[in-house]
């Protein structure tokens, strides 16, 4: 019988490229996600990484990709199956019911979904994880950080205010009529017409800024912890990013993590990977029974004249 217990994973991540985890735009400039913090000098707005984004990028997506890879499901899933694995599914059936047998099967086959929660068309179940928000290491957050981080992890000296770690980016989308006019069908154009060049810019958190974040797994088994660690490892291995514009090199994080209580992480990850292999056929059959198997390609019939 597995032992259920609470695990805490505390992480400190340093930005190795600008972070553009945005909350929207003002005019034609993007604004980074910020939260209000009460300080002795009043309310200050400080950049933050949302727990929702952290949970998706660091756990759900790499964890789901691992399952797809191990079970050979690439190109073999219906949209609803993908929605379940990559976005937690949707409760969209009118006949909601709580079948304990289904739930037990679900948890056994998918420790990933047991960790982060999800919904079948008529059954919704919460996960066992709390993903903390990424709190910036800055002067405004100093009091909060001292309650979360071991004393030996806190940087020495004074912390910088958040606005010192804020920066800007600017890019230009070029106009092909001007950069490669020779390749156009007619050389027209380009110089006579109005340029399609666009400059876009916005706020970012500068490289070198650090964030404290983490996870708490409540009433979790070692298999659940193995699943979480494997997902985090895959995220890191694949140049883990957070926020937008990763294609331009934004959002790279370098992470340091500590698990409490201490555990043999390699063994836990191995055990989870072995579990995934052992339930492969059953899990695929279960996914097909819940969301439907991919349809056979239609045979081409004779077209009547």
């Amino acid at each position: 019988m597995s032992i259920n217990r609470t695990y805490d994973i505390l992480c400190v991540s340093k930005a190795t490229s600008p972070i553009t985890h945005n909350r929207g735009s003002e005019g034609n400039e993007t604004i980074v996600s910020q939260e209000a913090v009460a300080t002795p000098h009043g309310i200050r707005w400080v950049p933050v990484l949302s727990g929702n984004a952290i949970r998706h990028r660091m756990i759900r997506e790499p964890g789901a990709r691992f399952l797809v890879d191990r079970w050979g499901l690439m190109g073999k899933m219906e949209l609803r199956t993908l929605q379940f694995l990559f976005h937690g599914g949707s409760l969209d059936s009118g006949d909601s019911n709580e079948s304990v047998a289904r739930l037990k099967t679900w948890w056994r086959l998918f420790p990933l979904i047991r960790v982060i929660g999800g919904a079948l068309p008529n059954l919704i179940v919460g996960g066992s994880i709390h993903a903390w928000r990424g709190i910036m290491v800055c002067r405004e957050n100093e009091n909060r950080l001292r309650t979360m981080v071991p004393a030996d992890w806190m940087p020495e000296g004074h912390l910088l205010p958040a606005d010192r770690m804020m920066g800007r980016y600017q890019y230009v989308r070029q106009d092909a009529g001007r950069t490669v006019p020779d390749m156009a069908e007619t050389k027209l154009m380009a110089l006579d017409e109005k340029s399609g060049q666009m400059i876009y810019s916005g706020q970012c958190v500068n490289s070198g800024a650090a964030f404290v974040h983490g996870f708490r797994l409540r009433s979790a088994t070692p298999l659940d912890l193995g699943c979480l660690l494997l997902s985090l490892g895959l995220w890191e291995k694949e140049n883990g990013t957070i926020g937008g514009m990763a294609a331009k090199g934004h959002g790279r994080l370098e992470m340091l993590a500590r698990v409490t209580p201490d555990a043999d992480q390699t063994e836990l990850v191995k055990a989870y990977a072995a579990h995934v292999e052992s339930v492969k056929d059953e899990a695929i059959a279960w996914l097909h029974s819940e969301f439907g198997a991919p349809r056979e390609p239609k045979k081409k019939g004779k077209v009547k004249a």
């Binding site: 019988m1 727990g51 990559f86 709390h130």
Partner: protein, 254 residues
Amino acid sequence: MSTPLKVTAWLAAPLVGDPPHLDALCEWVVSQYAVSIERTLSGSGDPLRHQEIADCPHRSQRAPRCGAMPIPIDRVKLSDDVIVSRCSSPLFRTDYEYVDHFAMRIDAGNVGPLMAETGPQTIQHGSTATKAMFRPLRVRVVERVVWFCVAHGSQSGGTKRSPQGCLRKVLREIAGLGKKVAYGYGRVAKWEVEPFHADWSWFAPSDAGPVLMRALPRRLIELPERLQGYRESFGAVAPPYWHPERYMEIVEPC
């Protein structure tokens, strides 16, 4: 021996929704222990049995017996089926309030290569199971949440535990308050349990007269004269506070 206590949750993240009642928090934690003990003893692994013990019935099921779950907070029996804990409602000051959003959108570029070529090839972002969302959250910046209560210690075997110790042991399992704790909102940085000079669990003194500190049943209790800060309403006075069976005529702080 029972002791008046002041319990403070220092928050490390903004709060979404409202903080819960202290007795409800304690009952939830104890119920998790109860499930674990039951599972160990019976080895049944039956989630239905666990749900029954865990004191968290479905809306359509009967509410559990009032006061069935042992918690370190004192309770007062007002009638056969109404037992009220000696703890105040949560008290907090909002320093700032704003609206945040949480979003979900299935991205064709991301999942497209994984999709079977024989199924639907169009992702509906406006409806169906793949409907995208961008939902608002009312977020409040709250430094701390305070409850006043009267708690008792415990003795098992040769080990004695003080009321503060008992409450601390239970509360350390609570990592977040309010809604969307899975996203990191309402994170508790530190629990503080300290002795308090008086019992402010139901009523607190003021110059104008006693102030109501928690919801109490209107018909089962005689309200003190010159009572301040209350209104008559319809609601629950014991966990689970959301359960329709718990609803009755009450007076609640306002």
